[in-house]
């Protein structure tokens, strides 16, 4: 049987076909669709599964690891920067190993398209000494998810599956196998020396781990030199590739004229770490030169040995940043075979830049940012990760380091000015509800402890919006639709020792502006501290929220609009647009996308925006 699936759905399918039953994830592009697909397909087939949106990736991995300690087959799913959060658990987990099966799916984002970094999870796997598969297509990702789980059980080690965005969001017809019921009974065998190993035992565990990896590097199942040997005499140039880089290279070689393509022998690496040792040696002997094509860092390349014969990212044949595309690979192949020098500039560099993303029409964040700028002009706005990173378009975001950093940074901005006796500018930490749960809480406990003072501006839209509206602990709704206990943000803030907390609807802009001013005054007062302002209004990507009032009819009075463009610059609502072919550049409202929130009315300095 076949079914059209997204790469992410195919991976979920692969897990279910191999009896994976405990799955934990934190949403993040490009990995977000895996967990929901796992739940949907699992429940459709009546499999007893447990799948949960963990509060962060570290907790997801710790949870999945523990399920695998009891003999279960489990998965921890995240995006590449989520793996950074889970690093502590990952590096330790390989020493301890598992008794069931543990697969870590870490989805990379070369480009980057929706991330802070272009890091390569396979490099992380190397650091953590975790075997890692690199699938090339959605179909293969489904199969490799199963292979990774099987290998994990076989070796008693966590195994990583590393897709990239191109695969996660590729769609194709997938061959399906039967979904199976996983192991039904957990069994925990007490082994404190293993599960709670002290440094002395850790040394032994490390040696055991190394032995397993050495054996794996000699395992004939991963001998990538075995294929492609039929050509005699061998093609002068060997090309080694893995994952989506292999898929693209294979397509491009096929499209070349035969006399050109015959020069190259293409080898596909399924398991980039640990790299099959003998295969590497064989290819170094077989070919004059080797080109390694992989995303996004030189993981295979580093392991190849004799660098004299290797071209790739290290010698500049392939650029050391950015996603691979057909142009880069063709240029690399031609340079490698001596046919053509590398062009000084690749990619459609002459193509005009695209339209930048912006907050949706009616997005409550826009109103929040507008109020923030009004309330604390000349402030420092420490930002965070989510849709509201787009506050940068509104000139209301000064930093974005990583998940939860807004609070640590706001605290540290305060400390650096205050400790040097400087006057402290208004400081606000701007963070969304999901990010706050993810890693804002320890930062807040720390900031209060350190005596930092700032406005904690919590943008509570009751969802994880950027990644597709996954639920947060606030309402207690879980990934599988079941209802858990709710956890109020206010209660959490109080628990962290925050004494001043205000909750405002961001659509009530003047009230919000007032509360933000008040909050900064409190932060400066002798007996003050961190002041929290919660801007609470649901994300409009949730259909039910869109039906709620206000649903106003907003228009621009032609005779009053001066065409100054202030509304677009300061408010940047996609529904505000310059009139086509208007010599005065007057503004009009795109009624198709306007949601009628009426928030732009106060923005116009000429009061030309009206509600009718």
């Amino acid at each position: 049987m076949q079914q059209v699936m997204l790469g992410n759905e195919a991976m979920a399918r692969g897990l279910l076909e191999k009896g994976c039953t405990f799955t934990y994830a934190y949403p993040g592009t490009p990995s977000s669709e895996i967990l929901p697909a796992f739940i949907q397909q699992g429940s459709e087939h009546g499999v007893a599964i447990h799948a949960h949106w963990s509060v962060n990736e570290k907790i997801a991995l710790e949870s999945a690891f523990t399920a695998a300690m009891t003999g279960m087959r489990s998965a921890a799913i995240m995006k590449q920067v989520g793996l950074n959060v889970a690093a502590d658990a990952l590096l330790s987990s390989t020493y301890l190993g598992v008794t069931g099966g543990l697969i870590v799916i870490s989805a990379d984002d070369p480009g980057p398209n929706s991330s802070q970094t272009e890091q390569d999870s396979r490099m992380f796997a190397m650091l953590a000494k975790v075997p890692v598969f690199d699938p090339a297509t959605p179909q293969e990702a489904s199969v490799f998810a199963g292979r990774a789980l099987d290998l994990s059980v076989e070796l008693g080690l966590p195994v990583m599956l590393r897709p990239t965005a191109t695969l996660c969001h590729a769609r194709q017809n997938i061959s399906l196998k039967a979904i199976v019921q996983g192991q039904s009974r957990p069994e925990f065998i007490r082994q404190p020396q293993r599960w709670a190993a002290t440094p002395k035992h850790r040394f032994k565990l490390h040696q055991q781990l190394n032995r397993k990896l050495l054996e794996l590097a000699a395992d004939p199942r991963f001998d990538f030199a075995a294929a492609g040997t039929r050509q005699t005499p061998p093609a002068p140039y060997g090309v080694i590739a893995s994952g989506c880089a292999w898929a693209l290279t294979a397509d491009l070689l096929k499209a070349l004229p035969e006399d050109e393509s015959q020069q190259f022998a293409l080898y596909k690496v399924d398991l980039p770490y640990p790299l099959h040792k003998k295969a590497a040696q064989t290819l170094l002997e077989r070919h004059e030169k080797l080109l390694v094509i992989e995303e996004s860092m030189p993981v295979i390349e580093y392991q190849m040995g004799d660098q004299q014969k290797i071209c790739g990212r290290l010698d500049g044949t392939i650029p050391d940043a950015g996603a691979l595309n057909p142009e880069i690979i063709i240029a690399a192949l031609k340079h490698f075979s001596g046919a053509k020098k590398l062009p000084s500039e690749i990619d459609g560099a002459t193509a005009p830049p695209g339209k930048r993303p912006s907050l949706c029409p009616g997005c409550p964040h826009r109103s929040s940012f507008y109020a923030l700028k009004k309330a604390l002009p000349k402030g420092i706005y420490a930002g965070d990760i989510g849709c509201y990173t787009l506050g940068i378009n509104l000139n209301a975001l000064d930093s974005c380091l990583c998940m939860g950093a807004s609070i640590s940074q706001a605290g540290s901005f305060y400390q650096t000015f205050a400790r040097r006796g400087e006057s402290v500018p208004p400081i606000a930490a701007v963070i969304g509800d999901s990010t706050f749960y993810h890693s804002g809480i320890p930062a807040l406990v720390n900031a209060r402890w350190e005596g930092s003072r700032f406005v904690l501006f919590l943008l509570d839209n009751s969802t994880t919006a950027m990644t597709g509206n996954q639920p947060t602990p606030a309402a207690g709704l879980r990934a599988d639709g079941s209802q858990g206990p709710a956890l109020e943000l206010e209660m959490l803030l109080k628990g962290c020792g925050i004494e001043k907390i205000e909750v405002v609807d961001p659509y009530r802009q003047s009230e919000l502006t007032g509360k933000l001013k008040e909050a900064w005054q409190y932060a400066q007062a002798p007996d003050g501290g961190i002041a929290a302002v919660i801007a609470r209004r649901g994300c409009l990507m949730i259909p039910a929220e869109r039906k709620l009032p206000p649903t106003l009819q907003v228009v621009i009075a032609d005779d009053e609009c001066t065409g100054c463009g202030y509304c677009i610059k300061a408010f940047e609502c996609p529904a505000l647009m310059v009139k086509a072919e208007d010599i005065e550049n007057r503004i009009t409202i795109d009624q198709v996308i306007c949601v009628g929130c009426g928030q732009c009315v106060t923005v116009c300095p000429h009061e030309a925006i009206k509600i009718i």
């Binding site: 059209v4 997204l6 592009t29 490009p30 977000s32 398209n113 929706s114 090339a136 297509t137 959605p138 965005a165 191109t166 996660c168 969001h169 590729a170 769609r171 194709q172 017809n173 989506c244 292999w246 898929a247 693209l248 294979a250 397509d251 491009l252 595309n325 057909p326 142009e327 063709i330 459609g348 002459t350 193509a351 005009p352 830049p353 695209g354 339209k355 930048r356 993303p357 912006s358 907050l359 949706c360 849709c387 787009l390 950027m466 990644t467 996609p574 198709v592 996308i593």
Partner: protein, 175 residues
């Protein structure tokens, strides 16, 4: 077996992803292999978005410069950024209410205005594809696109609206 590389460009929220799914649904009905790529995440918030559809025996969904057989542009502003993907002899169809330099009139449709005037402002992509399916370069027939709409509909109401939008596109001449 059809072999076609198709690039769809537009802005987040215009239904670029839906259109690529619709075309791959048609490929499925035709019994063709295909692989597609869709933009997700940050780009979905109104920014420039492309979807790539490769019909035939391919491993990767990515389309290179000078190699797309068809470029479908849902937002006119995206034409300039993506035109270098069209192969020589390839076809470019653009949703535009004005002339586009270098393109014949027959390759332009004012799909947004047509959709709005017909009370289907959210179905620009379907109006556009109903029209695009009339072009010789389009890989599948109008009838197959209809079938694909039916296969993908999540409710009878949506099916009716989408079929209507497709039909409206079919009867419109280029702008």
């Amino acid at each position: 077996m059809t072999d076609c590389k198709l690039l769809i460009a537009g802005l987040g929220g215009q239904g670029v992803v839906f259109l690529s799914r619709l075309i791959s649904q048609a490929a499925l009905l035709a019994g063709d292999d295909f692989i597609t790529y869709e933009s997700h995440g940050m780009a979905m918030r109104g920014g420039s978005v492309t979807s790539q559809v490769k019909i035939g025996n391919y491993n990767s969904p990515l389309i290179g410069h000078d190699s797309a057989d068809i470029l479908l542009v849902l937002a006119e502003g995206e034409y300039e950024r993506n035109r270098h993907f069209i192969r020589s002899g390839g076809t470019c169809l653009v949703n535009s209410n004005q002339l586009v330099a270098g393109l014949p009139q027959k390759n332009l449709l004012s799909a947004t205005a047509i959709a709005v005037n017909n009370g289907l402002p959210k179905a620009v992509n379907l109006v556009f594809s109903g029209w695009a399916a009339q072009h010789q370069a389009f890989p599948y027939s109008f009838e197959l696109m209809q079938e694909a709409v039916r296969a993908m509909a999540v409710s009878p109401a949506i099916e009716t609206a989408n079929l209507k939008a497709l039909e409206i596109g079919r009867h419109h001449k280029s702008s």
